[in-house]
Subunit: 237 residues, 2 copies
């Protein structure tokens, strides 16, 4: 039976901060834990958006690929989607809708999966550029990130709210990715404005944090940076 | 089939820091996720040690009780024990054996379950005192904590190593409890000296973090204290 109470996460954000960009989990394993989610790909190559079991990868050119079972990811979160609340929202921007979700669901201390499907007056994304070995630190890797905007676009926002207590393991607060219905535009969301969309929220009682314990680079990395929070804040927001 | 790759944790250390001491999970549920572990009981009433499926509670008088299925816990970690490494250790103190485990297993970035069964030249524990409502903050609750020592005692150390990245969710580094074979002495370990013991270590690739999402007090608590790390360091070490 599919577990709809848990967000499964492979890898941690802290691993990306120190440049552990190599894929350590095949997509075939990832999708055993959920049919919707977000992440990045091997070599930190773009923004991953998982919708209805398909694993889309938006790369720095703006192109959208579909990852196959043997492709790997260093960091991704997925869940089996079964929202408790579905509602129509319209004429609302990203800041407003996030405040609405936080208030309606008393977000703060637990995990939630969020989707918004519909039409957007405006969508503004960015895409992390592919890295090569020897990998730099995150702060270096994201110095130049392509940004993309599109108006009047139909598509799906997929993402999570995570308690700030788990900042470092993951992104504290909202972390949302986008893929359009034509599958030629998407990325890590910077801001957006909804025309009309179906907002769905699934409260989750579990985080299943999976770590690549047999990976040599992971085992020997120093993930206890004194400035971890600052690195994350500057990278993710 | 029992999952031997995961440490299951109910609640977080941060919840204790802000005084969420009420039990939010029955023991009957907790023991579905493991047969060994540590925690505390409803009302922050003592130190819990789970050995071979029995849930012992060491209370502030020093007395040891056994918790029943309907007793509840606010915070506990358990796993199904299947150590990959078993070895005899002797004439080694707590600092030395922890350094040995850290080096032998390259601890730092992943979770591990640890037991040491045998005879101890010296064992020094403390036990958190039961609290009543309205609960104080952790720093107030543990201002006076009974300490206990015993020489030449046989028993079992049970506990975990957790990456410091998860400090706040849990205790970063080693967190060890003790129960003696006669079941009349134990607690949260401050220091010890091994005469001879079997050391067993189980590397774990998953943390399953469970949160009491339906608990009103949990949902409304402010768990984002600026001084969370300081509170934890002063409380747990």
């Amino acid at each position: 039976m599919k577990d709809t109470t848990t967000v499964y996460q492979h890898g941690t954000l802290a691993m990306l901060v120190v440049g552990l960009f190599e894929g350590t989990l095949p997509v075939s394993e990832l999708v055993k834990h959920g049919d919707m989610g977000i992440g990045t790909a091997n070599d930190f190559d773009g923004e991953v958006v998982i919708v209805d079991g398909t694993v889309y990868q938006v790369v720095e050119s703006g192109q959208v690929n579909v990852l196959g079972p043997s492709d790997t990811v260093p960091f991704a979160s997925v869940n089996y989607y079964e929202p408790q609340v579905k509602e129509a929202v319209q004429n609302i921007n990203s800041t407003q809708v996030q405040t609405k979700i936080e208030e309606d669901h008393q977000l703060g201390n637990y995990f939630a999966a969020i989707t918004m499907r519909g039409t957007f007056k405006h969508m503004h994304t960015r895409v992390v550029p592919k890295q090569s070995k020897p990998y730099p630190m995150l702060s270096e890797a994201i110095k130049v990130q392509p940004e993309f905007t599109r108006d009047n676009v139909s598509g799906t926002i997929v993402g999570y709210y995570a308690p700030y207590l788990f900042q470092g393991a993951t992104v504290g607060g909202f972390h949302l990715h986008f893929i359009n219905d034509d599958h030629d535009f998407g990325g890590h969301i910077l801001d957006f404005e909804i025309d009309q969309a179906q907002l769905e929220v699934q409260e989750l009682e579990n985080l299943l944090q999976h770590l690549p314990v047999t990976d040599k680079n992971f085992r020997s990395a120093n993930l206890n940076l004194a400035n971890m929070n600052e690195e994350i804040e500057s990278a993710e927001h």
